[in-house]
Amino acid sequence: MTISSLDLDAKLGLYRSQVELRQFEKRAYDLFLENYVKGTSHLSLGQEAIAAGFAAAMREDDYTFATYRGHAHTLARGVPMTGVLAELMGRTNGLMAGKGGSMHLTSVEHGVMGSYAIIGAHLPIACGAAWSAQYRGSGQVAVCFFGDGTTNIGAFHEALNFAAIWKLPVVFVCENNLWMEYTRTSEITAVEHPAADRASAYGLESIIVDGNDVDAVFEVAKKAIDRARAGEGPSMIEAKTYRQAGHSRADPGKYRPDEEVAEWLAKDPIPMYHARLLAEGATEAQLSEIDRAVAAMVDLATEEAKAGETPGADLLMKDVWADGGSAWRN
């Protein structure tokens, strides 16, 4: 399938997906300010096109591996908002009953095989899921998202080589939003394109995509996933984007030049796509209906999440082991 083969309905789906991620995260931020969300959280505002485009290109049983900045990737795979929001709020109706928290969203049922908070760790793990799919002949593909700053840690290197030599069905996606936490990645990286300029070190093609253009993302994702599914091995894709907010909830992001922020706000993927869809025949009414429906969905999820219970001592000692318990001695 190529970009042109996406019909308007499918594109409205991509629009809706992005709006869901956007509105959800704005709500999460509000709830954070209202002290409903404790701990930390990392928003993908401005990066939604990547999550939406990839999720649309994935098969239902494909695997997603995300980072601590994982709300968008989790939701894009169809995980209900309530479970995600309740997890952020530390409630028993959270995806993991509050035990994982914002940085570790997981929903095996939806193929979301975890969000990982140690930089680089999930790249080798995604290789493992891909290796398993290959051995089982299941045709599943693992898609592994990570940031630009992650390209300088050792695990990145080991995973890319490993995937390449075993021709694993895994797609590595570098969301290059230009920044680590408070340091500009280009200042501490030896090459201009932290992922794409390294693809050749693993015998891979160098692929860069406009990460704010959901159609372009979908196209490149589809191609890489099809390739992986066909047994032709891994790909690495560098998607150029920008995080509109700070690194994490505590960070106002002041270290970034105003012009840079302005430039990227002008490239916001959602208004851009909104305009494109109008040009391609969608109506303002269709699109605002989507916005409204999503708003209602977010409101409902908020209510449901807030209604969740606070976890108790029973959960604390549960599920260290597969027998459901935590006993390490008799």
Partner: protein
């Protein structure tokens, strides 16, 4: 005198040493203009410049390798590992290289370096950003391990760590970063391997470190109201370990309780328990009890995290149950 937070004390301790000695350099992620993710290095970049206070890539092995190579060639680097959980991605450099190389080379090399790291829970960061890893570090021959509990100690122990010719793991309790105290002006230099008796009692001895010190002190006040009068020892440095102070204070009361944030199995208190069980066997009036986080990964939800880490009320409860039982 100045009112100083724990996090400000870190920068002050480091600045004191960097002014004194040009061979002291800092490296780490976001420690420069940003002043560190926990704001422990605020002002250092401005005072000492980007060469001496230098941002690195997310490459913890490179950070610690660089520190080690610099230390063996005459510098005194201070490296930051942002969260102590991340020691796991560079543990080889710590345990196999830094800790062993002096011994292996029969003393040809010294490694005067400090590795600072945010340690412990209480911030609802979940299992991979909340660990107390003092017991990981204590386990490794060749590492010194410092865990301060207040701003004054931070300055003096940081100075001692920087001046020490051996590698020091300096663990900063994240839960204490915002705590404040009055600190005298002028140079402050403390001593590694010296425990402090921070409360004197007669019924039992609580031995603890870091973020568990204020909790143990609060618990001791509540216990005093019940007629259980506790000595509280702030160990401050696990290696070198001031065993003499611990043995003296335990033998004075006849009872030992450890209060540990690390998960239970092979928490640092197990070593102290084993020392006391061997060396004070005939002086103990009752069992040694270790009050610890259970042997589980830390949960993220505030309600759960609060149940996991020893709280004032749990310390009170466990001590009073054991003393009355």
């Amino acid at each position: 005198m100045a009112q100083l937070t724990f996090r400000e004390a870190i920068a002050r301790g480091i600045a004191q040493e960097m002014r004194r000695d040009e061979s002291v350099l800092m490296i780490g992620e976001d420690i420069g203009a940003a002043g560190g993710v926990f704001k422990g290095t605020v002002g250092l970049f401005e005072e000492f410049g980007g060469i001496r206070v230098r941002d690195t890539p997310i490459s913890e092995q490179a950070i610690l390798g660089a520190a080690m190579g610099a230390a063996m060639t005459g510098l005194r680097p201070i490296a930051e590992i942002m969260f102590s959980d991340f020691f796991a991605v560079c543990w080889d450099i710590v345990v196999n290289e830094i800790a062993k190389s002096r011994y292996m080379t029969n003393g040809q090399m010294t490694f005067p370096l400090v590795i600072r790291s945010g340690n412990g829970g209480g911030l609802r960061f979940g299992a991979q950003h909340s660990q107390s890893v003092e017991n990981w570090a204590m386990q490794v021959p060749g590492l010194k391990v410092v865990v301060p509990s207040n701003a004054l100690d931070v300055i003096g122990l940081m100075a001692a760590a920087v001046r020490d010719p051996d590698p020091v793991i300096f663990l900063e309790a994240k839960a204490l970063y915002a705590t404040k105290m009055e600190v005298p002006d002028g140079e402050i230099v403390d001593t590694l391997g010296s425990a402090k008796v921070v409360r004197k009692g007669s019924s039992a001895t609580i031995v603890t470190i870091g973020a568990m010190v204020p909790r143990s002190l609060a618990a001791a006040e509540e216990l005093a109201a019940q007629g259980i009068d506790c000595t509280v020892v702030d160990v401050r440095s696990l290696i070198p370990l001031d065993t003499q102070t611990i043995l003296r204070e335990v033998s004075a009361t006849g009872r030992l309780f450890t209060v540990e944030e690390n998960p239970r199995v092979l928490g640092w208190g197990a070593e102290i328990s084993s020392i006391v069980a061997e060396e004070l066997f005939y002086d103990l009036d009752g069992p040694i009890v270790r009050i610890t986080t259970p042997h589980i990964p830390l949960p993220a939800a505030d309600a759960l995290e609060d149940m996991a880490i020893p709280s004032v009320s749990r310390i009170v409860e466990e001590i009073s149950r054991s003393m009355n039982g």
